[in-house]
Amino acid sequence: MFLTLEEINVIYGKKEGRVHALKDLCLGIEEGEFVTIMGKSGCGKSTLLNVLGAIRKPTKGIYKFKGKDIGEMRDAGLAKFRNKNLGFVLQNFALLNDRSVYDNVSLPLKYMKTGAKEQRKRVGAILKEMDLLNKISKYPSELSGGQKQRVALARALVTKPKLLLADEPTGSLDEETGIQIMELLREINEEGTTIVMVTHDKEFANYGNHLITMKDGRIIKEE
């Protein structure tokens, strides 16, 4: 198994304000899968991505990535784990608006302490793949939504991650652009990157080969 979640529970807040966002959730994902998650707003999809992204430690439960227990890692180890293995794509693009496309895409490489030459090579290659080479010194505000999401994808992929986590990557895009992004994701998946994507769109969910439906912090359907 590529990654496993065993009886994951996430509880936000304390006492009256408590929200039990994930309830005894179990999940296994094989390498190379394209997992899509559907479910009503507030059912815990983003929380699940937070756990998979090693950003939030589950209140209870075990998260293993390639057999390694993520719960045992400390802050610096987790940061390194994220940097090396994970890429994120979010609905709001999560780009640094005060930095150029190049600086945005090269950011993960800085945390990897990649040399300057290597950085330039890899950023150039991924931007070419995303058809963004001509935007290299532009700022996010000068780009269209589809271009922004491609910059985010470039940034997520520049480190060649094993797992790409996407939270409604098409949520802020029109249908046509959404389809473009989905095609890109399909390509990336076909090249071997495992993808876990949250979406509201049933059609886009069908891009996946492992479909999950959630309700109230639990998985209610898996196909």
Partner: protein
């Protein structure tokens, strides 16, 4: 991930240049202020310690001769064989030599010098009323200056040191007519006189020549009965109290004035008064000495008054340093936390890209430490130029370290509570 992303810190600094500069100026000024006050405090502490080591816990009393008119007349004119004068000098010597208390002559006396003296040396200059202190006599200017006639105990009891030249010798305490009188001058005179200079003087209506033999240390003070206070000797001329070889009118008068002085004693006022009266009665049962207890009213106890004042100063100093520290910390917390909030989104993005909590913490602390360090450097430079001393600079360093430590804890808590992970799914 060990390295600090200084480029991020510099970027944050540049993007918030106004806030950064304002904070920097604020910190520099406050640090400089602290260092400055520290210097002042150190000085006042030094003065206090000086008082304590000089005067300790012992009590001072004032003594003045209080001969009735008739007795004074009898003493000056009455006895042709000089037996009264002999008794008076014996009394004076017994008091000077007494071991169960220490009496020294300390007699503020106007000294008249030929010529026109600088204003600062004139009698009454400190009170702003010295118009009468320069007169013309027989077509020549004469000046009235401040002097104290002292016996040897004066130097020990007030811990007075000679800066240059020499102290009074045994010889100097002997008077023969026509002798050149050695005098020691306060520090302020040093700009105008040198050792060996001869002054044309008139002291208790007697013309005499005086020779400058020494100058006093800069911060010399003495307990003055006249002022009921510590008085700086800076502008005083010290004249030795004498034993006389003759029995002129001058020596009689001077002997009497030499009974004016201070008594350092551990016994209480009652016991001391009785003791002195008994000594005086041995020589003449009608003579009287006036003993005053400046401590009877704690408000006029100058030693205690000064101790209280200096301890107040150092209390206020401590409070002030703490207030300045709180002020700096609050300013930093408000401003740096607002910067953190402003950069929350950026930090979240960095988190997704592989930054850890510590990377973000280091960026924030790097910003804080840069500020404190630059402020520290600026104020150290200021204090150095102003010659504020090592201790002021060390205090500012300690203050910097304490502030950085407080900020380290506060920033840690703040960043932990920022929930940077909310960037995923935080929109819905």
């Amino acid at each position: 991930m060990k390295m600090i992303h200084w480029e991020h810190i510099i970027e944050i600094g540049l993007k918030n240049a106004v806030m950064f500069s304002m904070l920097l100026i604020l910190i520099t000024i406050n640090f400089s202020l602290t260092g400055n006050i520290a210097k002042k405090n150190e000085e006042s502490q030094k003065v206090e310690n000086n008082y304590k080591s000089t005067y300790g816990e012992t009590t001072f009393y004032w003594m003045t001769e209080a001969l009735k008119d008739q007795e004074y007349y009898n003493y000056m004119e009455g006895d042709s064989n000089g037996s009264s004068y002999k008794k008076m000098t014996d009394l004076l010597n017994e008091l000077w030599n007494e071991k169960s208390f220490q009496f020294y002559t300390c007699n503020n006396q106007t000294l008249i010098l030929k010529g026109k003296m600088k204003d600062i040396f004139l009698e009454g200059y400190e009170d702003g009323d010295f118009s009468d202190a320069v007169k013309t006599e027989n077509g020549k200017d004469i000046s009235m200056v401040k002097s104290v006639q002292v016996s040897s105990g004066f130097f020990d009891c007030n811990n007075i040191q000679i800066n240059s030249g020499r102290a009074f010798s045994k010889e100097d305490y002997l008077y023969t007519e026509g002798k050149t009188i050695p005098v020691i001058m306060g520090k302020a005179y040093k700009d105008y006189y040198k050792i060996g200079d001869i002054l044309d003087a008139n002291f208790i209506m007697e013309d005499m020549k005086m020779e400058v033999v020494g100058f006093l240390e800069d911060k010399s003070f003495f307990l003055s009965y006249f002022e009921n206070d510590f008085v700086s000797l800076e502008r005083y001329i010290l004249i030795p109290a004498w034993n006389f070889s003759d029995k002129s009118e001058f020596s009689k008068m001077a002997t009497l004035t030499q009974l004016n002085g201070n008594i350092k004693a551990n016994q209480g006022y009652e016991e001391l008064s009785e003791q002195i009266n008994n000594i005086v009665k041995k020589y003449n049962s009608k003579w009287q000495m006036n003993i005053e207890d400046p401590n009877s009213d704690s408000g006029t106890n100058v030693v205690k008054k000064y101790q209280k004042m200096t301890s107040q100063v150092s209390n206020q100093f401590n409070i002030l340093v703490i207030l300045i520290m709180i002020f700096i910390v609050i300013s930093l917390v408000i401003n740096i936390f607002s910067i953190l909030e402003k950069y929350k989104y950026n930090f979240s993005v960095e988190l997704l890209c592989g930054a850890g909590f510590w990377d973000i913490y280091k960026e924030s602390m790097g910003f804080t430490i840069s500020l404190i360090l630059l402020g520290n450097l600026g104020s150290t430079l200021y204090l150095f130029i102003n010659d504020s001393g090592k201790n002021s600079i060390i205090l500012v360093d300690i203050l910097s370290i304490v502030i950085v430590a407080i900020m380290a804890v506060a920033s840690y808590i703040h960043i932990k509570r920022m929930n940077l992970g909310d960037i995923i799914g935080g929109e819905e």
